[in-house]
Amino acid sequence: MKEIGLVLLTIIIAPIIGGLLTGIDRKITARMQNRFGPPILQPFYDLFKLFSKETIVVSNTQILYAFLFLVFNVVALVMFVLKMDLLLILFVLAFAVTALILGAMSTNSPYSRIGAHRELISVLAYEPILIAVIIGIYFVTGSFNVDDVIKYNNFLIFELPFIFIAFTYVLTIKLRKSPFDLSTSHHAHQEIVKGITTEFAGPVLGLIELGHWYELVLLLLFIGLFFAKNIVVAIIAMLLGYFLEILIDNISARLTWKIMLRLTWSIALGLALVNLIWVYIKYRLL
C-alpha cells in the first residue's frame, strides 16, 4: 500500500518538478543572454497549449511511439524511486529513446530522419559510459540495487570522481544541451527544422515534452546517487549539476556528430575506464 502511494506521488510530483526546472532553465538562459526571459511557469503553458491543439499525425504509429516514450520514462523513474535494479533502469531508459527514434523514423520527412539518425549516434556515444557508471557503482558497493547504494556508508563521489565527471559530460548529450544538441534542440536553434520532433504536432508533441520532464528528474536523481549519504548535499549537488549544464549550454556552440563521438569515446570513456581500473584494483584485488 505504501509503495502504491509512493508510485502515485512520483507520477504526480515528477512532472511538476521537471516543468519548474525547465522554466528556471529558460529564465537563467535568458538572463545569461541579457534578456528578460519568459515566466517560470512558461513550460506548463506550453504543455497545456499543446494538449488543447488538434492532433495531426503522418502515420498513426507515431502516437503509439510518443506514448511509449512517455511510459518508459515514467517506468524508469518509478523503478528508481522504488529502489530497484540500476541496470534494469538503464535498459528501460534505452527503450524510451528507441521508441522516440522509431517514432521519428516512421515518417518520410528527411529532417525527422536525420534527427533520428543523429539520436542513434548519440545513443551510441553515451550508452557505454552509463554502463561504466553502473559497473563502477557495483564495484564499490557490491550491488546493483539503488537501495544498497543509498545505504553505502560514504559519499560515492570520493571513490568515483572520474566516473562522475564522465557522467556529467554524458548528461549534456542526454539532456540535448548545446554542444551536443544534434538531434533536436529546445528553443529555436534551427538547423534541421526541429530534428527528431519535426513530425510530431499538438498533443503528441505534448506527450514527448512530458516524457522529457520525467527523464530530467531521473537523470538528476542519478547525480544525487553519488551524494546519497546526505540528502541535503545530494539536492545541492543536483541543482549545481543542472546549473552547470545550463552554463555549458549557453557558452558553447553546436559540434558535429563526428567530434561528439570522438570526444565522448576518448575523454569520457577514458576517464570512466581509468576510474574503473582503480576501483577494481582497490576492491577486488587488494
Binding site: 491543439k53 488538434e54 529555436a188 534551427q190 499538438g202
Partner: protein
Amino acid sequence: MGIYKIQVIIGRIEVRFKVIFRRALKKSPWIVHYDCNSCNGCDIEILSTLTPVYDIERFGIINVGNPKHADILVVSGSVNHRNARVLKNIYEQMPHPKAVVAIGACACSGGIFKECYNTLGGADTVIPVDVYVPGCAPRPEAIMEGILKAAQMLEEKKKNMKKGEILNAAKS
C-alpha cells in the same frame, strides 16, 4: 448527497482546467515566419523582435520554424503565382486553432506591387488573415502587438472549433 457533492467538485475542477487550457493558448503562441516576396525590410524587423532589445520570448513566443508546431503564421511580402501554393501548404500544415498575421504594407494589400501583372496582392488573397500590421516596414513594437492580438484570437477560435469543421489536411 455525498455523490452529488463530489460530482459538483469534479465539475468545478473540469471547468477550471478548461479555463487554464484555453488561457494557455494565448500564453504560448509559437510562430512560423514565411517570407513571401518581401524586400527583407519586414523580415529584418521581425527578426529584431527576437533580439535581447525587444525579447519576444518574454511573452512565451518562440520562432519555431516548423508549421506543425506553430500557432501563428507570420507572413511578409506580397503573394505571387509561384509562392501562393507554398503559403497555402504551410497554412494547411498548422494544427487548429491557428491565426495569421500579415506584416507590412505588401502582405496587407500588395503595397506598391498591388497592380503588377505578376502579383496576386496581399496574403489574404490566398489564406484568411486575422491581424494586419501596416507600415513599410512596421516597427518591432507594432509587430509584437500584432502577434499578441492574434494570440488573443486563438482562445476565441478554440471556443468556436467544432470537430466536424476541422479538415485534416496533413493526413495521408
